[in-house]
């Protein structure tokens, strides 16, 4: 019987081949964080200075923070969008019904198929900014970036259930493009990727506090502020993300079954 691991392995192989045959895609992942940071730096320099940015965010290494935040942003994009894009592309190609005919349950297929890209993409992005981190901060910068990668993976776990729900919604809506894509910039906006959460209205701050990405960004800020942050603060972030993983995936598992029934009931698949 086709299990979750078989689907994961098949899509991991497919994704690796996709990257191997699309060198542009690799180039894109390498250049994108630098372009985003260049945009913010260029845009920000019109208004003020990097010193003001450093002071406002309370980080000692603003460039490293911007680069790490961009990795968090890009990873969140890839996690949330990979599942929805998987279903849309297969619907376009007419292969979705065949994929759905496999014995595994729909939510499992969605998550297992989107997971490889959600893992590969942050790895490539971190590899892309690693030289800059080493250049700016030496070995300590490199270690901090790798630690942030661990937080990205921790933050990814609660996002998986949410992503599967977005993919189901996209299929039910029968639109041409991924209508869930609005969630990505909203998620980043309320998580304070490039600014402190405190500047947002209180309702957005509240939404941000219940989003896992905000805690990954917090970890990024912590590692950009101190070379070795206080272990207590790091543990608080790890505990929060663990609780969120359990809560979000529990909620998603309950909702996804209904979404699966709705998909089959509407004859979408």
């Amino acid at each position: 019987m086709t299990g979750c691991f078989d689907i994961f392995r098949a899509y991991l192989f497919a994704d690796m081949c996709w990257y191997k045959n699309n060198r542009w895609l690799l180039f894109y992942h390498f250049i994108w964080p630098y372009l985003m940071v260049a945009l913010i730096l260029g845009f920000g320099s019109l208004f003020g200075s990097i010193e003001s940015y450093s002071e406002r965010l309370g980080v000692s290494s603003p460039i490293l923070f911007l680069l790490s935040s961009t990795v968090v942003a890009m990873s969140s994009i890839s996690i949330v969008s990979s599942l929805a894009e998987f279903v849309i592309e297969n619907r376009w190609s007419g292969t979705l019904p065949y994929i759905m005919l496999t014995p595994a349950e729909t939510p499992i297929i969605f998550i297992a198929a989107g997971l490889p890209d959600a893992i590969i993409s942050p790895l490539i992005t971190v590899a892309a900014i690693l030289p800059a981190a080493l250049y700016l901060e030496g070995i300590s910068g490199g270690i901090r970036i790798l630690t942030i990668l661990i937080f990205i993976f921790l933050g990814m776990l609660p996002l998986l259930g949410l992503s599967a729900l977005i993919a189901s919604l996209t299929l039910i809506a029968k639109e041409e493009s991924n209508i869930g894509q609005i969630i990505i910039p909203f998620l980043l906006l309320v998580s304070g990727v490039y600014y402190p959460l405190e500047i947002l209205p209180s309702i957005l701050q509240f939404i941000g506090r219940i989003m896992p990405v905000a805690y990954v960004v917090e970890a990024t800020r912590l590692f950009s502020k101190y070379t070795i942050p206080e272990i207590r603060l790091v543990l608080i972030l790890i505990y929060t993300l663990t609780v969120m993983t359990i809560a979000y995936n529990l909620l998603a598992s309950l909702t996804l079954k209904r979404a699966d029934r709705a998909l089959r009931g509407k004859g979408v698949i």
């Binding site: 372009l35 260029g42 209508i179 894509q181 906006l189």
Partner: protein
């Protein structure tokens, strides 16, 4: 070209716009949120107390980038869908140029830019500061926007045509949009850019239209006299339109002889 075909293309794109209204609204809101995300990040560079004074300066920059990126990506980026559905062959079989359908794509792009502009205006109005929209010379402003739009449509069509034979990826278009935004003199007047970037920006055709827009909107003097920039922008726009028509004709001839490079999914 028969008039009913043009009417059919316009009808198709308006119908699609209505049919995919949720996607359309979703895209307009997404653009606004992305811009807000970067804007809030960039505003953190401003010393305390001067936070929102800078907003009117960037409003027109955002509008120009919005027009440019939406038009280019919604024409050239759409070929992925267009090709994967096999629509090119269908149009050729009914003796209709597949590019005629693409020429209608600016309808979607410009509607999207208009809606996103409204959302951005509403969002920026929420910040304290001086009035967001200023107009000093409406004729120059309109000319700047018109040349920028026509150049964007031309580049979108050139990239779309090339994607039929070379498989241009969506990411290439995104990178192109970003580079033009950073180095193309769209967000900032050329006089404010570092010297090496200003030289690069002069070589990017959009920068001249952007200088006209800023001159018409806020009276910011362009890098050289407007009497030079106006004809220069018009000549560049005409050249791009001519190049796009030639590219389309050449590629269409090629695909009728040797077929598409991208069959099905690219």
């Amino acid at each position: 070209m028969k008039l009913y075909k043009i009417k059919a293309v316009v009808w198709l794109h308006i119908l699609r716009l209505w049919r995919y209204k949720i996607s359309f609204l979703n895209m307009a809101l997404s653009i606004t949120l992305w811009i807000l995300l970067f804007l809030l990040g960039a505003l953190m560079f401003t010393p305390k107390g001067e936070l929102f004074k800078a907003i009117p300066i960037v409003f027109w920059g955002i509008i120009m980038w919005n027009i440019m990126s939406n038009t280019i990506s919604l024409i050239s980026g759409w070929t992925w869908y267009y090709l994967s559905q096999g629509f090119v062959e269908e149009h050729i079989l009914t003796d209709t140029s597949p590019f005629l359908v693409l020429v209608g794509r600016p309808i979607t792009g410009l509607f999207l830019s208009a809606l996103a502009t409204i959302f951005i205006y509403i969002t920026l109005s929420g910040f304290e500061g001086s009035p967001i929209i200023t107009i000093t010379d409406p004729f120059i402003l309109m000319l700047g926007i018109l040349t920028l739009t026509l150049m964007s449509i031309s580049i979108g069509l050139i990239l779309a045509a090339l994607s039929f034979k070379t498989g241009i990826q969506q990411m290439f278009i995104e990178i192109l949009n970003f580079i033009i935004l950073i180095a193309g003199g769209i967000m900032a007047p050329l006089s404010k850019l570092p010297r090496f970037l200003a030289y690069i920006a002069i070589l990017i055709p959009f920068s001249h239209s952007a200088e006209l827009v800023r001159f018409g909107a806020a009276g910011i003097k362009p890098w050289t006299s407007p009497t030079v920039i106006v004809p220069l922008s018009l000549i560049l726009t005409a050249s791009f339109l001519a190049i796009s028509i030639l590219t389309i004709k050449r590629i269409e001839m090629h695909i009728r002889i040797s077929g598409l490079k991208a069959m099905g999914r690219m």
